[in-house]
Amino acid sequence: MPEPSVLLWYIPGLPLLGAIVCLLFGKYLGRCAALPVILGAVLSFAASVSTAIEVQTRGVAPPVAISAGGPGAGAAPIDRKGRVTTEDRGPTVVVGGSGTLTWIDLGDFQVPLVLSADPLTCIMLIVITFIGTWIFVFAVGYMDHHGHLDPGYIRFFALVGLFLTAMTLLVLADNFILMFAGWEGVGVCSYLLVGYWYYKPAAAAAARKAFLVTRLGDVGLILGIMLLWSATDYSLTFDAVFDRAQALATTRPGLLTASLLLILCGCFGKSAQFPLYVWLPDAMEGPTPVSALIHAATMVTAGVYLIARCIPIFALVPEVQIFITLTGGVTALIAAFIALTQTDLKRVLAYSTVSQLGYMFMALGTAGAISPTFAVTAAVFHLFTHAFFKAVLFLSAGSVMHSMGDVIDMRRFSGLRKVLPITHLTFLAGSLALAGLPLLSGFWSKDMILEALLKSGEDAPKFAKLYWFVFGVAILTAGMTAFYTFRAYFRTFWGPKRLPEEAGDHPHESPLVMTLPLLVLGAGALVAGAVAEPITGFFGHFLEKSTVLQAAEARSKLPAIDHALNWSLAIGSSLVALAGVLLAAFMYASGARNAPLADGAVPKARGRFYYLSLNKLYVDEMFTVLFVKPLTGLAWAARAAENLVYDLVRLVSFVPKFVGSVLAPMQNGLVQFYALSMMVGVVALVSYLVLFASR
């Protein structure tokens, strides 16, 4: 077994190696070009698991983080400048060493190249690598269009390998800047993958939109990081910052709030909260495995991870926390509202993702009001289960698309449960989990969130009423979630069998390479949540050993939450979900509304809200008016100013030419004209002298 210090480097390193091998040798490998990347992902998963075991075994008493410094890492802790000191840093034992590699060394700005894995990181790593591996396997089949490979096959796998590298780097990083490097890396990979079919204008525009909107957030993020850097005596590592930021809450609360809000910008952008969620539905232009991996399971959870990582400082400012919760609530509600009427299956799932991310933020926002451990556990647990069932939902949609010849408009097909039986089953599994039906994974995680909200509604020192209000919103959204999920399910798989023309002669179930991941992930969607938390309680216990949670707990002095099940809440939420399912079944299962353009016949009584939902609440249009148009106008003005400068320069060159062209006809080659000019000059001079210039 290699040293733990080196193992951590394998986790991002192996997918990167796989991506490079795929890029260099892909054209000789044909269909097997995906193998290096898949291998990399599998080995990375193995490394993650062993890391998690390591963390678990070491962390029986004091929690521990494993650090991977550079080669020859010693045993001493690291001070704020990344150099080794002998200062005892409390319960954290850094198994790193002296002589760590430094990425950036600029005086007060020291970015050491250190990876560390605590329980929070381990959970994220397992999710990322496990689901990533299965999605890669699925993609092998997805990118194979009935015999011939997609022309950018190599590019696709290289990019997803690179994405895996960046994402694991993000969660493994020990300091803000290294995490930011991973953050930007996943942003770039998302851009490249959403715009994978770059020749499609819609895809190119969607990729640009995704990148730019998250960029907006990233600006805030880097500003927040720098603010914290300057305020906490120039430290960048998470531990150092959290140690020193504790003092800021009392000495400079405004600064702390400002930096937290700025960091929140980044999280909102990446995790698609209101108002920066507009990129995620458009990002469905990318291939479905990309949507599954990036926009369901991993990248969009980076924001959740960051807040969880920074919970020691977030928990210090209740105003920021209630802001997070409110934003999460608003997002969840809006996204669910829009998802009610969408006709594109992937769009429904995208809005569903946004809505579920809103749930995670709602949970995170309760960290100050109640025990941070419970809040973060709820959010991360929901992240964990959401990854499974959303991935399986997306992959099922991909399987449907694959069979239907890339048609994903629900109005064009129905009754597919006979045509695609396995896909049907897995989609059903995912839908049940998403709706939150009892005993399935989604139920447990959603229940935990609702409980957190309820507790903060009761116990929060500040804004208790607001938390209660958000709890109501969450319940309502749960019902809407169940409704739209099963609307999609029934419209796709029930009703009369209708196939679009692109499906070909007789569409069939997807090959094994695609259905195996579906089955695995579907199983996970059903049971993973149940196994992880309620039955074994493993998840919570594991997570609470995380350094940040320990730190936050130490400071918050809030009572711990008992993990007993709140029966009334559980039954209530189940009933709400069931109600949603039944309503959807009633409306859509018969397929009566599934006739072509059936939506046009929707009862006109709901006309206004229906169209409001169908048009996505006009948020995109508002963005256009508020930002895009002024920027375009500014660009136009800049272009005009530039043209003005060009014209001025050209004017400078034009004037001598013009003067020359005016004077050139004077040289007409006629001797007498020249003689006349000379005479005129002489006469002018002489007559001036004689006649006018008198003493």
């Binding site: 007498q672 006349l676 005479m679 005129v680 006469v683 004689v690 210039a693 008198s694």
Partner: protein
């Protein structure tokens, strides 16, 4: 002369005797210059005759005084008007051969003027060279260069308005300059002005004629007196022993009166009117006498001739830069003496120039073989 004229006062009244011939002249030239659409020959000739007449009037009466009716005046006027008439005809003829003939007449008239200026050798030389050689050569070339294609370049003028305007403006400027200089340096006008001062009763009028300018600046009259004495060649310090007594007396009187007038005018007081008038009267008569002395050619200096002197008494150039208007009668010998002593280098160079020009003309105009580049 231009700069000198520029430094003089402009005339006080409009100079009609100058403008009329110019206007008539420009109009006649414009009418007479050939145009393809035809020219009005009669109108142009009429205007031309009138212009020449007006110019004659200018010469006779307008350049600082009426000319005396002596043979010189008559000859001068005749030759001048002939020259100008044929000059105008020369530039307005259509046929180049006619122009050459007119040019010959111009040359002959100018030679007449040379003769009036005591330059007989030049007259002869000009007639021979111009009329004999140059014009004949022109006529030969005209004969050799008959126009082949139909072209009426002879019937057209390039920029008639521009060239006529430029030419007549230049002429006007030169004539105005000559007039001004002559009026300033002419003794007659100075004498007339002094007489006017002597006759006037009003100090203001006197001051105006005298051109009083200020306390510290000499009045214009004094400047003119100074220039007149310079032109007459009056010695600054008359030497009684060397000068002829009458001349000496006139010069001293002149200088006394000049100084007194200068101080009086500088003071610029109306009470000094009588003194000024007296001074002016005296100065007028003195100036007239001095001028007559100059014109008569009597030597102002007492000269003793030796027995073997070759030349007539030549006035001392240092003393009197304004010598009597007498050129030696032995024109050719004087020319030769001056040419080969003072201007020897120029002679040699002129000879070289003639040689080079001859060779050049032969080379340029010589026969070319076909196809060689000229």
């Amino acid at each position: 002369m231009i700069l000198y004229a520029a430094s003089l006062e402009p005339a006080e009244r409009t100079n009609w005797e100058l403008f009329v011939p110019l206007l008539l002249g420009i109009m006649s030239i414009l009418y007479l210059l050939p145009r393809p659409s035809g020219r009005s020959l009669r109108l142009g000739s009429l205007l031309g005759v009138l212009a020449v007449g007006a110019f004659g009037y200018l010469l006779v009466a307008g350049m600082g005084g009426l000319l005396e009716p002596n043979p010189e005046t008559v000859l001068f006027t005749a030759f001048s008007l002939l020259a100008i008439t044929f000059a105008a005809m020369m530039i307005t003829q259509i046929n180049p051969a006619h122009s050459a003939i007119c040019f010959a007449v111009v040359v002959l008239s100018v030679c007449g003027l040379f003769l009036l200026n005591a330059a007989p050798f030049l007259m002869a030389a000009t007639v021979i060279i111009y009329g004999g050689a140059i014009i004949v050569t022109f006529l030969f070339v005209i004969m050799l260069s008959q126009q082949y294609s139909q072209s009426d370049a002879n019937n057209r003028s390039r920029e008639p308005f521009g060239s006529a305007a430029v030419g007549f403006i230049l002429l006007g400027t030169l004539l105005v300059g000559v007039q001004r200089v002559h009026t300033h340096t002419s003794i007659d006008t100075l004498v007339a002005d002094l007489n006017a001062i002597a006759a006037s009763e009003d100090y203001a009028e006197v001051a105006k004629i005298a051109g009083v300018r200020g306390k510290d600046v000499d009045s214009r009259l004094v400047v003119r007196l100074r220039d007149a004495s310079k032109h007459l060649g009056l010695p600054a310090t008359p030497d009684k022993t060397r000068l002829v007594p009458a001349y000496f007396e006139e010069v001293t009187t002149f200088q006394e009166r000049e100084l007194s007038l200068k101080t009086d005018l500088l003071d610029n007081k109306p009470t000094l009117l009588k003194e000024i008038r007296d001074d002016a009267r005296e100065l007028a008569s003195t100036l007239a006498t001095l001028k007559a002395m100059k014109q008569s050619g009597e030597p102002a200096v007492r000269v003793t001739l030796s027995e073997h002197s070759v030349a007539k008494p030549v006035p001392d150039r240092d003393r009197s830069p304004y010598p009597p208007r007498q050129l030696p009668a032995a024109n050719v010998s004087a020319l030769g003496r001056s040419l080969f002593t003072d201007h020897l280098l120029a002679v040699e160079l002129a000879g070289t120039l003639l040689l080079v020009a001859t060779i050049g003309a032969i080379l340029i105009a010589g026969r070319r073989e076909r196809g060689t580049v000229s």
